[in-house]
Symmetry: C2
Subunit: 147 residues, 2 copies
DNA sequence: TATTGTTATACTCTATAACTATA
DNA sequence: TATAGTTATAGAGTATAACAATA
């Protein structure tokens, strides 16, 4: 049981927990509850309410074409969840920021996404405390935390 | 710090680890490496190589329309990854099973999905061992493990 | 009659290419 | 000339409705 074996086993379990059909179904369910599509929900999670972001940067972050970002931000704007403002430094660039309504929806989504599935709540209190410490440490190392 | 707080914090970290853009990008990358689409890859993961499953049951499991299952299984069959056989007990029912090629691809996908991201490998050996034990216990409680 | 699966069809999501406006 | 973003358009994925075969 090497260190690499342990890391693989951990990631395998974590992946199973996450891609289980029950869990995957939560995303559409939460999106539906907010009356947005799943892609708009993901977009909202990726926009920091405190700092508007250029469209181009979103395209890089999502590994998708720029035209797609146009369509997504259109959807957010139509629903009053985001706003486009030209950059003061380069008028070609448009900065996308969440409106108050968008930021509020984002908070609700993050809240609901944190609802733990039953497989987790069936662990003991001590186990949960241990997981909290270690996983918190790992998640803290992510570049751009989503929510 | 209640037990519920701990469970929420754990799930929140786990969700962050999993829906990070870097990690989400792994699915298309692995699928591309196998020359299948992401939806076919997910389908392969959800079919137990040891026991063919009725189309209707896949539709329930994936929370999607039956016509969609027809289209997905068509795609798998065209690539020689799965096969449809009428049930011996009810000739309306078609059982979907993986071919040898499909089962082999499934193993490769599971293998690659288990590659741990760098945020995990940066944990200590003791932390990984602890995570392995606890998460393995939780994942073992899932109904239909994928891979 | 009810159920399993298929076909026809429309809508959403995503990518490519051509375009506009700034730099 | 190059870059940020948009528009037009085509292809994949998904849902609804009508249908065929079987129960």
């Amino acid at each position: 049981m090497s260190r690499d074996d342990d890391a693989r086993a951990v990631w395998h379990s974590l992946t199973q927990l996450f891609i289980s059909d029950d869990n995957q179904r939560r995303f559409p369910a939460i999106a539906e509850g907010e009356d947005v599509t799943v892609r708009l929900m993901h977009a909202i999670l990726d926009i920091d309410p405190a700092s508007p972001i250029p469209m181009k940067q979103l395209a890089r972050q999502w590994y998708c074409d720029a035209s797609n970002v146009t369509s997504i931000v259109d959807g957010l704007e139509e629903r009053g969840l985001a706003r486009r403002d030209p950059s003061a430094h380069d008028r070609r660039v448009k900065l996308v920021g969440l409106t108050d309504a968008g930021a509020a929806m984002r908070e609700r989504i993050v809240e609901r996404l944190s609802d733990p599935p039953s497989v987790l709540t069936s662990l003991t209190g001590a186990e949960l405390k241990t997981l909290r410490t270690i996983l918190g440490k790992a998640a803290g190392r992510l570049e751009a935390p989503r929510g």
